[in-house]
Amino acid sequence: MHYLKFAFRNIFRYRTRSLVTIAVIFLGFTAVSAVGGMVNNIFSQLKAQAVVIEKLGHLTFAKEGFFLNGKMDPEAYIWNGKELKDIIDIIRQDSEVVLATPRLKLFGVASNGKASSIFLSEGIVPVDDAQLITTPIDGKMNTIGAVTLPQGENRQYEVAIGSELSAMLGVGEEQYFTLLTNTLDGMANAFDAKVAHVYNTGNPATNDKYVLINFSLAQQLYDTNGAERIVVTLKNPERIEEIKNRLLQSISQAGYNAEAYTWKELSLFYEKVTAMFSVIFGVLTIIISIVVLLVTLNTMLMAVTERTREIGTLRSLGMQQGNVIRLFCFEGLIMAFAGCLIALPVLFGISEILEMLKVSFIPPVASSPVPILLKLSPEKLLIVFVLFTAAAVISSYLTSRKIAKQKVVDSLAHAN
């Protein structure tokens, strides 16, 4: 008789108790995996918000010291036209690079003629940006909420503005307002912008002041033919550190001093929000795992106690202590398998239902809603499966060990 077959029969014999154990494992697995799937989805959406909507790409290159001192002395940290071309060429030569696009940041005052508000502005190359917003996030394209600027000649004065700034100035799409800024020399410069898009930046800190403008217009306003940053997207962002170092080395070999930051380092909210959700998810997983462990421990203890005399019989027939423990561990293993296996279609069902219902929420430190979906990752399902299987097997081991090791005569004398 194989232990597995024997274990199966025992599980069927003690149906009620087995069902309780399987149900607890099923509920625990479903709960942890569902919450994990939701958190996964939130992380993915936040990543999309940072990489695509905030337009951070995967890597941002700038002159060394720019991120610390660039605001104090912008002129010193602008690459001129030749430098910009050289560095972009170096970056584009790398086989891992999908896109390298120049950027300029402007700030000043936006006005509708009656009311004014400060604005922050990013100068983008529309044709490059159209490519950036199609950057796949976790293997999937996520352009929800992403906007870019219209392409074509004579459209360089068209801009996209944050929805709160739009509301504050009372300007909507196809309407005009004025942006007042300085050149690098400190001379005042202004232009009338036409609103091409009103959009939510995804971040309340920028949604009331953000304006996307055409890169060539930003160059004109700054009176420069260069750029302060180069934003890069990659084929394999999971290798970001390796590629960053390689590119920095290539740029350095060409005689330029540059620094680079990843999108995680530049994102205003990603690390904070993911850290918060990771803590919540971690605590929840620990609590549920402890509950599963305690309940399975309890049911296994009842099963083992009830079967003490049977264990005595098995031992008297020649079954070694270790094999008695193994038999109960097999029972725990089978019940954990069953609980997790039943949970899988339920999880996929919940995932489908959420996708149909299109429920969303606004995460803290974000301004645009994130859809509530279950992003079930096979790796995480496997981790939860291993965790709960281990809990069931450990419960079986701990409870059967004591009885298996007691004197056979005491086990046989046990009153059921």
């Binding site: 008789m1 024997f6 029969r9 025992n10 069927f12 014999r13 005399r309 049977e310 005595g312 019989t313 098995l314 031992r315 008297s316 027939l317 020649g318 079954m319 070694q320 202590q321 094999n323 004197k407 056979v408 005569v409 046989l412």
Partner: protein, 239 residues
């Protein structure tokens, strides 16, 4: 080899004592027992409740260890062996029949009988063949696939005897094998054991309360208060 009987000794208990704690009292279950069982013996152990019959059987089957004294199997003191070796030894050399049958409820009759052989790692085909042969011998040829819950008390005890026999052990020990059976079935079980003793020279040691059974067994050991008082109708040396 015993010179008086010319039969080899299967097991020898030498000055075995055993006592138990019962609340604050210490109860002496076996008092300095010395006792031999020879190949082919068919011994009934009788005595009132609390006389030490079950304790003695637990010592012989190595299910329990003595406080002092030795239990000699094949020239070796088996009571001092580690648990793993005792378990292996017991599975090969001793067959046990319990008062309440102690069959594994999730296994069929043939699987119950086959179980001790499987623990020894014998091939599945051989295991089934031998298990069926033994079941045939105890008259249960038509009950191979019945679960214990589908068998009568007498049939269950036959399965238990078959399970004890299947490994062809040196000794079969039965603790009150007829206690849970009606008198007719009880006698049938004892008759079966006697037949197996005669036909295969299997050594049996069993305890019983039933005077009808002790009356048909020639080798009866009587116990009182943890001591053997008579053997084969003669006064024991220990008394």
């Amino acid at each position: 080899m015993n010179t008086s009987t010319n039969k080899p000794i299967v097991v020898s208990l030498q000055k075995v004592t055993k006592s138990y704690e019962l609340g604050t009292q210490r109860i002496s279950a076996l008092n300095d027992i010395s006792f031999e069982i020879y190949k082919g013996d068919f011994i009934a152990l009788s005595g009132p409740s609390g006389s030490g019959k079950s304790t003695l059987l637990n010592m012989v089957t190595l299910l329990d260890t003595p406080d002092s004294g030795r239990i000699i199997f094949a020239g070796k003191d088996a009571s001092t062996l580690p648990d793993k070796k005792i378990t292996t030894f017991r599975s090969k050399e001793i067959g046990i029949v319990f008062q309440n049958y102690n069959l594994i409820p999730v296994l069929s009759a043939v699987e119950n009988v086959a179980f001790p052989l499987q623990l020894q790692g014998i091939s599945q085909a051989d295991v089934l063949r031998r298990a069926k042969q033994i079941l045939d011998r105890v008259g249960l040829a038509s009950h191979y696939n019945h679960r214990p819950s589908e068998l009568s008390g007498g049939q269950r005890q036959r399965v238990a005897i078959a399970r004890a026999l299947v490994t062809e052990p040196e000794l079969i020990v039965a603790d009150e094998p007829t206690a849970a059976l009606d008198s007719k079935t009880g006698m049938e079980v004892i008759t079966l054991m006697q037949e197996l003793n005669v036909s295969a020279n299997t050594t049996f040691l069993f305890s019983t309360h039933d005077p009808r059974i002790t009356s048909i067994v020639s080798n009866v050991v009587k116990m009182v208060d943890g001591t053997i008082i008579t053997r084969n109708g003669t006064q024991s040396e220990e008394k």
